[in-house]
């Protein structure tokens, strides 16, 4: 008793300090969760939903997800993003801000954050590859490149309600440890098309083989696709403005576009009679292309409708369009880059034809 009393007295300062610390900690926690909510709404909610239910991004609130991902995985995923798969990198946020976001995400579910050791998993990569082709490629792609499109399907018709993420993605591979990947294969994610592969009959060794195959994607990391691109595509013509406009219409229709509208650039800003008439926009559209584009990125409205502007300045007539490759760069979406590459070629062909 006596001893205990003395040691209590001895320990008193540190107890007081600890209490002080913990209230400080609590304060900080409250602060962090406020900041976390604010940052999450600002940066993540548009894609992942305000309560993590998913959207352009995958759901973050599901219990199985929360059970299978460590705080470290969440932190790294936010920091590195998924290059070329829409999810941006938030490396410009500080560590505290990212941690606050992680804390906020944890609040979506009552499940406790797991901790896994980070022992690398060894397995038979070759066997892993054949198992991957058999069990995973249909959803995650033969090269692990992920499904066409991302996140949750709401109004866009797609193969699955939630699209499979890219597994060959450098952002994913940097963020996930072998044990992280294994946990997802073992547990599956209820509420998504991703099932438990133990329940599906695979042995633990086979799971290890698959993990080592996924890890081997790291040996051929994706190259950054982007180069510096000019802002616009522009051609000059010797013909007069009216002729050039007619040429553009004809060239676009020849490429299977439907003309939507021709208007002055300053339409809607001044009285119709006061419009300058020297800068004319030709809008056109191809519904098949539009559908394709919406499937890979719901934000493509920012490219739409397709448009070429003809303008006359200092006695010269020029035709000008956005460079879809330049704009696509902002979307962090490899599939959209591919479409925009096609779109770029089409624009160039139309512009060439219209000014030839």
């Amino acid at each position: 008793m006596k001893n205990l009393g003395i040691s209590f007295l001895k320990a008193l300062p540190s107890i007081i300090a600890a209490l002080g610390m913990s209230s400080l900690f609590l304060n900080q926690w409250a602060y962090a969760s406020d900041i976390g909510a604010e940052l999450y709404e600002q940066h993540c909610a548009a894609c992942h939903g305000i309560r993590g239910q998913g959207g352009t991004g995958v759901p973050l609130a599901l219990d199985d997800f929360q059970r299978e991902v460590t705080d470290q995985f969440l932190f790294n995923t936010i920091k590195h993003g998924r290059p070329g798969r829409v999810m941006p990198s938030y490396a410009m946020l500080g560590e505290e801000q990212i941690s606050a976001i992680v804390k906020h995400i944890r609040g979506f579910s009552n499940v406790k954050a797991p901790a896994f050791d980070d022992t690398p998993i060894t397995g038979d990569t070759k066997n892993g590859k054949s198992l991957f082709m058999q069990h995973c490629a249909a959803c995650h792609g033969e090269q692990g490149q992920g499904a066409a499109g991302t996140g949750v399907t709401f109004s866009r018709p797609r193969d699955y309600p939630i699209l499979a993420p890219a597994l060959n993605n450098p952002g994913f591979l940097t963020s996930a440890t072998d044990q992280d990947i294994k946990r997802t294969l073992v547990g599956g994610r209820k509420g998504t098309p991703m099932r438990s592969f133990i329940e599906a009959g695979l042995k633990e060794k086979e799971i290890n083989d698959i993990v080592s195959y996924i890890r081997s994607f790291e040996n051929n990391p994706l190259k950054p696709v982007h180069v510096d691109e000019p802002l616009v595509i522009e051609y000059e013509s010797d013909a007069d403005l009216t002729t050039v406009i007619d040429n553009i219409k004809r060239a676009a229709q020849g490429k299977n576009f439907r003309l939507i509208r021709v208007q002055n650039l300053d339409y809607g800003f001044v009285d119709e009679k006061a419009e300058s008439g020297k800068e004319v926009i030709i809008y056109f559209c191809n519904f098949k292309l539009l559908n394709q584009a919406l499937k890979v990125d719901s934000r493509v409205g920012l490219f739409l409708p397709c448009r070429i502007t003809a303008y006359e300045q200092d006695g010269k007539v020029k035709v000008i369009a956005i460079n879809p490759r330049r704009l696509s760069h902002l979307f962090n979406n490899n599939e959209l880059d591919r479409l925009c590459n096609e779109m770029y070629k089409t624009y160039v062909e139309i512009l060439e034809e219209a000014t030839f």
Binding site: P83, S89, S155, S237, A239, L302, K318, H329
Partner: protein, 152 residues
Amino acid sequence: MILVNRLFIILILVITSAFANAAHINMVRVKNTFPETMLRLQEVIKEHGYKLSRVQRVDIGLTQSGYQTDKYRVVFFGKHDELRWIIRNHPELIPYLPLKIAIYAENRDTILAIYNPNILFEPKDGKLQEIISRWEKDLESIFKAMREFETD
């Protein structure tokens, strides 16, 4: 007649790394229906001193091809004097004008998206810099107002 046909490459070298791509596209999820959000967006744009020039449907034919929503629009806006100044002094920006916001329904929410003009249009001279910085500030403020727009 000799037809001159030259490709002008506007040499605007934008040094952007493929990995520093956060906030290149700004998005807001508005907890409100599409029509309500659309109305509010137009008000907020006007409150910031911009004129709405047009709303474009980009979804004609979408429902025929299996989409469950045709609620997808692009809202164009700007200021006439800025527009004229840019046409005169920076015609390379013509295809990017007027400014626009994509707005579309997702379940019961509505999503707004815009690209960050400050990232797209670099480098710039004094006056252009001033205009673009103002756009960026205003767009941020417009999006902030939209984030706060919720039905109770």
